[in-house]
């Protein structure tokens, strides 16, 4: 008996198993840590496929930076990874200094202040990560403890940088002004209080059975896969590879500081959590050493009026100082042509800048290597086979910052 064969379905209808369902998480959901849309295909509650849509925060920062003076560009670049403003600026000024050929001339005190700022920022960034990750998993109290530490750190950053969130304190050639009187005492108080606060946090979460149940064996990624996905930072070190830019390619005198690189081999969300907690302790060790070195006074910018404007007081007394001030404010300075790649260890991994100068007073090309973009991408693999409730755990454990992913 002949039966009419129904016409083939048009290609835009996705062939799908009748048991699966497509769900959209975000982009407006607090647990997506910004504006991220994850489209998951689930069978029951098990994720079979995950894809992501990013770009909701794209503001063309790279394009803006290419049309600003070398010093002005730093201001917009600081806003990319908004939890790590000093780190962004740090990487950018190091790259620009390489192009200018003044890397060796940066005064040691300026390098110490930069290291101090970068490590304090790393701790405060991890505090935000821990607090929000905790909220995602229903551990509300961890948020208050973590933000308590963060507030104290932001107070210190404010007192030497001038602002809590985006101090714009680093300069090509040094830092903007010496640290104020009383900073060392403030740091001493922070250093004294910190271990106790961290102890509270650890007590709350580290051996908490609910926390362990929800993070152990979730989002596991092996070392080989982690390298294939270009993961860096705590996400890579949670999978066993102790790659830390501070150790592998030391900058700003990191080779003279004593610290360890925490590593775990498990590769799951709990391993990444432990690596970040240990990193906060290690960062505090570096802060202590930097604080000890800051007791010695010294210059904080290079002595080159073509790059760093002379002190404001001198412009009433010296004509040259006035001219240099005018030149730097009105047309910036020129950077010799060439290209350079510089990276630092940010809180989320290897943050890199590829700068091209054509000899002008503006960068010709500013390419950022955003660690969050690469770290986030591996979610496509690690989510498969987990329950949909674990999606927020996995996103949180990768610690993406969307200002940086989308730029």
């Amino acid at each position: 008996m002949n039966v009419d064969v129904p016409p083939a379905r048009s290609l835009d209808v996705v062939e799908r198993d009748a048991n699966t369902m497509t769900l959209s998480l975000g982009p407006q959901h607090p647990s997506t840590h910004g504006v991220l849309q994850v489209v998951v295909e689930v069978s029951g509650e098990v994720i079979e496929r995950a894809d992501m849509e990013i770009g909701y925060l794209h503001t063309g920062i790279e394009k803006s930076a290419e049309n600003l003076f070398w010093t002005q560009a730093q201001t917009v670049l600081e806003r990319m990874d908004y939890l790590n403003p000093i780190g962004n600026a740090f990487c950018y000024v190091l790259a620009a200094e390489k192009l200018l050929g003044i890397t060796d001339k940066i005064p040691p005190r300026a390098q110490q202040i930069r290291v101090l700022g970068a490590e304090l920022t790393r701790i405060s960034s991890h505090c935000v990560w821990l607090g929000t990750h905790g909220i995602d998993l229903g551990a509300i109290s961890a948020f208050w403890y973590a933000f308590n530490i963060r507030e104290k750190i932001l107070d210190v950053i404010e007192s030497f940088g001038g602002a809590r969130m985006h101090p714009n304190y680093l300069r090509i050639g040094g830092v903007n002004g010496d640290v104020p009187d009383g900073l060392l005492e403030q740091l001493d108080a922070l250093i004294k209080e910190f271990p106790g606060r961290m102890g509270e946090l650890r007590k709350l979460l580290q051996n908490n059975p609910i926390w362990r149940d929800r993070t152990i064996d979730i989002g596991t990624i092996s070392a080989e896969e982690a390298v294939g996905w270009s993961l860096t930072g705590p996400t890579l070190r949670g999978s066993g590879i102790a790659y830390d830019v501070r150790k592998a390619f030391p900058y700003s005198g990191y080779e003279t500081y004593e610290f360890d690189v925490p590593v775990r081999n498990e590769g799951d969300a709990y391993a990444r959590f432990l690596v970040r907690l240990d990193e906060m302790d290690e960062s505090m060790r570096i802060v202590q050493q930097a604080r000890a070195r800051l007791a010695e006074p010294g210059p904080v910018v290079i002595d080159d009026p073509k790059i760093v404007a002379p002190p404001k007081e001198t412009i009433a007394l010296s004509m040259e100082a006035l001219i240099h001030h005018f030149k730097i404010v009105s047309e910036g300075f020129r950077v010799p042509p060439g290209d350079v790649y510089q990276s630092i260890e940010g809180p989320r991994g290897e943050m890199g800048y590829y700068l091209v100068s054509n000899g002008n007073n503006r960068p010709y090309r500013v390419r950022t290597r955003p660690p969050s973009l690469y770290n986030l991408q591996c979610l496509k693999q690690i989510a498969i086979g987990h329950l949909i409730a674990d999606m927020v755990v996995m996103i949180g454990s990768l610690d993406p910052v969307f200002g940086e992913v989308d730029r």
Binding site: G228, S230, A242, N265, Y354, Y374, C378, D406
Partner: protein, 200 residues
């Protein structure tokens, strides 16, 4: 009037990366798109296991017009201590891509991370990665026109483009030697002509 700080632009405006000995931040390879896959496969076999980043640069007046820049890093692929990682080898591969045929073979089958990286270069520079399984825009909406990080893409949108801007504000976007253009330059030119006419 050029100040003492003004460098002579003639020599390196087209490709600033070739004017002086490269800074010793990585090994640098300069290749054509045809050699790309072969080179990257060889580097990968030599141990450059991580594709750190893929970026683009638009040199506008240069031939070939674009550079696609691959940053590679030689990391172990099994758990390793700080001493075992040591100072890994860094390689930077610069691929010159012609402006009239911006095509590069994709390496997304070699490194999974190349997926988003190549999509971003495609989105912002309009360079097509042949063989990429899912080459869509990633940062901008699908219906967006143009590729913003190209140097001939305007800095401001059409609504605000009418605002006259002093020509120095756009200096870095204009290739060296191009005559000043725009409303301000035109007004100045007319003013000068008028002044000369009155004198004569």
């Amino acid at each position: 009037m050029p100040s003492s700080q003004t460098p002579s632009i003639a020599g390196y405006a087209l490709d600033p990366t070739t004017v002086r000995p490269p800074l010793s931040d990585a090994e640098i390879l300069r290749i054509s798109p045809d050699e790309l896959r072969e080179t990257l496969v060889r580097l990968r076999e030599e141990g450059c296991s991580m594709l750190l980043d893929v970026g683009g640069v638009d040199y506008l007046a240069r031939v070939p017009r674009f550079d696609v820049v691959y940053h590679l890093l030689a990391l172990p692929t099994a758990p390793a201590s700080v001493a075992e990682v040591g100072t890994p080898r860094r390689v930077r591969v610069l691929v010159g891509v012609p402006g009239d045929h911006p095509h590069v073979p994709s390496v997304s089958d070699l490194w999974r991370s190349a997926d988003w990286a190549e999509r971003e270069v495609y989105d912002l520079f309009g360079i097509v990665f042949d063989g990429h399984p899912d080459l869509r825009r990633i940062q901008l909406p699908d219906e967006w026109e143009g590729h913003p990080l190209r140097k001939d893409y305007p800095l401001r949108g059409p609504a605000r483009e009418a605002t006259p801007r002093p020509s120095f504000a756009l200096k870095s976007n204009v290739p060296a030697g191009a005559p000043p253009s725009g409303k301000v330059a035109e007004a100045l030119r007319q003013q000068i002509a008028r002044a000369r006419g009155e004198e004569q």
